[in-house]
Symmetry: C2
Subunit: 359 residues, 2 copies
C-alpha cells in the first residue's frame, strides 16, 4: 500500500511501537475520500490504537477499507460512531470543504478528531472549530503528513530543536506533486470550492513545517500567487502556487507547490525542505534523491564541521501518532499544540486569500 | 588563481578559444577593487582579447595584477587609458558605487565598458548610463559571472532555450556566499552606501538569471527583505536578503542570497538554481554537489523520460566572452542585449529599495 507513484495513495508504514495496551485507545475511521486515511490509520495502529468502526456513504470505499483492515466493523452512519461510547477519536479524510464541519460534530460528541490536511477551506470554518475546541476541550488534530509521516522531516525537527544549525533564519519548502492520470482523481479534486485552492490544500504542509522549523508562532503573508499554467481542461485546478511569509520572530519562509511532477520522476514528488540557520543549513530530499538514489529520507547537513549526507529511512520512526494517542488519553499537547495546528491552517487560508492569479 | 574557498577571488579559467586574431581586440583593465577583475580578464584573454594597459590608484594592486598578466603595462591614470586610441574596451571592478560613473567616463571616451556586477548602486546611476549609451552608442556590459562564467548555467541556458522543459513557470535562485576572515575584505564591503545592499550586490546575479531562464523582459518586485542576523560588528552588512518577482510573461522568481556559508562547506557557496517548466525541471548545483561531489557544474534534469544527472565541468566553456568581443567589433548584441543588462540591474535596485528590514 505504501506505493510511491502518486501522493494520493501514499500511506507510509513504520515500525509498530505501541504506546498503549490493547483496548486502551479505540478509534474509528469515517469519510474515506482521500487515500491519506490509510496513512492516518497505519500511524494510529502502529502506535497501539484499536480500529473498531468505519463509515463512509460509499459502500465501495468501505469494502476496500475493510479488506485492508478486517478488524473495522462498518457503521451505518457517522452518528453511529459518535454514539459509541468506546470510541475516543475519529479519524477522517473527507472532501476538504467538509472537514471542518465534520470535526465540529465529532468534538461536540466528546471525541477527539484527527483529520487529513488541509483541515479547513475557509476562515469561518476555522473560527467555528476554535469555538468548539474552547467549549468542549476536545482536540482538532491534523495529519500534516509531509512532516509527521516523513522520517527525514522528523529527524530535522529534532536537529533544529537541538540547535544544530543555530538560529533559524529561513525555510524554503518545495512541494511538487503528481496528478497522475487525471480521471483517477475524484471530481472534487478539480473543484476549487471543495479543495480550497492549492495553497490551502497542499500548501498547508509547508506552512506547518515553517512554524515548526523556525519556531515562529505567527506570521504574515508578504506575497502569494496561484495559477493554472497547463491544465485548461480543469480550469479550477490551480497547478502552481507560491507564497512568502515573515514570521513573528524575524524568520522568513518561501514555499512553492505545484502539480508539475514529470512522468519520469521515480516518485510522486521531489519534495525538498531547506532550513538556513546562523550556524549551518539542512536540506531534506524527502521522497527521492533525484538522479542519485531512489530512496527517500535523504538529509544533507552543512555546518562548521563539514558536509554530511545521511539517509535516515527506517531510522527515525513516526513518533507523532503515539504522542497523539497519549495526548488524547492524558489531555496533554506533546504531539502538537492546538495553537500550532490552527495557526498552520490559518496561514494556508490567509495565503490562499492573498494570492494573486498568475498565468 | 581559480581557488574556491571564497567567492571574492574565484576567477574561473576555461579553454582558450579565440574569436579574433592577435591585435584585433585590445582592452585595458582599470580599478581592481574586486577580485572578479581576474575572472573578467581571463574570459577576455581566452577569447583572444589582448590586455594592453592596467590602472589602479593603489600600486600594490597594480603590482599583483602585473605579476599575473605581465603583458599589461601600468597606466598613470584612467585618462591615459581613455586617451589610448587602440583600446576598444575597458574592464573594471571598482567599488560598486563608482562603477556607474566610471562606465560613463569610459563610454564618453568612445570605448565599450565591461564592469563587474553589480553595475550600479542607484537608479540615478542607471539612468545616467542609459543616457550615455543612447548618446554614444557604446556598450555598458556587466560580468554577471554566476551565469556567464559557470558552465552548468550556460548549459541550462541552452537547454531552456531549446524547450527542454517546456514553458518556464518559475525560477528559484539561491546564492549563499562565504565572507571568509572578515579582515580580509576591504572596508567598502561593509559600507552600504558603497556596496549597495545585498540584493543590489550579489542579488544582481540572480535577477539576471531569472530574466534569462524565464524569458521575461520586465518584472515587478512582489516582496523583498534584507537583514543583518549575525554580524553585529559590521552593522551595515546585510547578511541575508530575499525577493520575489513576477515576470511580465507570468513566470515568477524567488531569490535568496546570504553570507552564511558555513566553514565546513568545501567551496565558497552552495549556489543553486531550480528552473520549473511545464514539461520538466532543471536543478543546478553550481559549485559543489553538497555531500556528494566536490566538483561544480552538476546538472539534474527531470522530464517525462526520467531523471538525469550530468556533470558538465569542462564540457561547455564560456562563450559569453567571445560573443562580447565580436559584439564590440560588429556592434551586435549576441552576448547579451543592452536592454537585458540594464533590466537585471534595475530589478536588483528596485528589490533593494522595496526590501523591508528584518532581523
Amino acid at each position: 500500500m505504501s506505493q510511491k507513484s502518486d501522493g494520493m495513495n501514499y500511506a507510509p508504514q513504520g515500525k509498530p511501537s505501541p504506546v498503549v495496551k490493547p483496548g486502551e485507545f479505540i478509534f474509528a475511521a469515517a469519510h474515506l475520500d482521500h487515500g491519506h486515511i490509510y496513512g492516518q490509520c497505519n500511524g494510529l495502529l502502529e502506535a497501539g490504537g484499536e480500529l473498531a468502526l468505519v463509515y463512509d456513504p460509499d459502500p465501495a470505499k468501505v469494502k476496500a477499507f475493510i479488506e485492508r483492515y478486517p478488524q473495522a466493523k462498518p457503521a451505518r452512519s457517522l452518528d453511529e460512531i459518535l454514539d459509541s461510547p468506546d470510541i475516543r477519536l475519529v479519524t477522517a479524510a473527507a472532501i476538504p470543504s467538509e472537514r471542518g464541519p465534520i470535526g465540529c460534530r465529532v468534538m461536540e460528541a466528546s471525541k477527539d478528531y484527527f483529520t487529513d490536511k488541509t483541515p479547513f477551506t475557509s476562515l469561518d470554518q476555522l473560527d467555528q472549530a476554535k469555538a468548539v475546541v474552547a467549549r468542549t476541550g476536545r482536540k482538532y488534530s491534523v495529519y500534516y503528513s509531509e512532516r509527521l509521516h516523513v522520517e527525514s522531516a522528523m529527524f530535522a525537527t529534532d536537529l533544529v530543536n537541538q540547535g544544530a544549525i543555530g538560529r533559524v533564519i529561513q525555510v524554503i519548502g518545495l512541494g511538487p506533486h503528481r496528478i497522475g492520470p487525471k480521471e483517477n482523481r475524484p471530481r472534487w479534486f478539480y473543484e476549487k470550492a471543495k479543495y480550497g485552492g492549492i495553497l490551502c490544500d497542499i500548501g498547508s504542509h509547508q506552512f506547518e513545517q515553517f512554524l515548526t522549523f523556525s519556531g515562529a508562532t505567527d506570521a504574515t503573508v508578504t506575497q502569494a500567487a496561484v495559477g493554472n499554467f497547463n491544465n485548461p481542461d480543469t480550469p479550477e485546478l490551480e497547478d502552481f502556487g507560491e507564497a512568502s511569509l515573515l514570521g513573528n520572530n524575524g524568520s522568513s519562509n518561501y514555499i512553492r507547490v505545484d502539480w508539475f511532477t514529470p512522468k519520469g520522476l521515480s516518485t510522486w514528488g521531489d519534495g525538498r525542505t531547506t532550513i538556513l540557520g546562523t550556524k549551518g543549513y539542512i536540506e531534506l530530499r524527502k521522497y527521492v534523491d533525484v538522479g542519485r538514489d531512489k530512496r527517500g529520507d535523504n538529509v544533507y547537513i552543512v555546518d562548521d564541521a563539514g558536509e554530511r549526507y545521511i539517509n535516515v529511512a527506517g531510522q527515525v520512526g513516526f513518533r507523532y501518532f503515539g504522542e497523539l494517542i497519549l495526548d488524547c488519553l492524558n489531555r496533554t499537547e506533546k504531539a502538537m499544540t492546538q495553537a500550532h495546528t490552527f495557526k498552520a491552517a490559518e496561514l494556508c487560508l490567509r495565503a490562499q486569500l492573498a494570492a494573486r492569479k498568475i498565468s
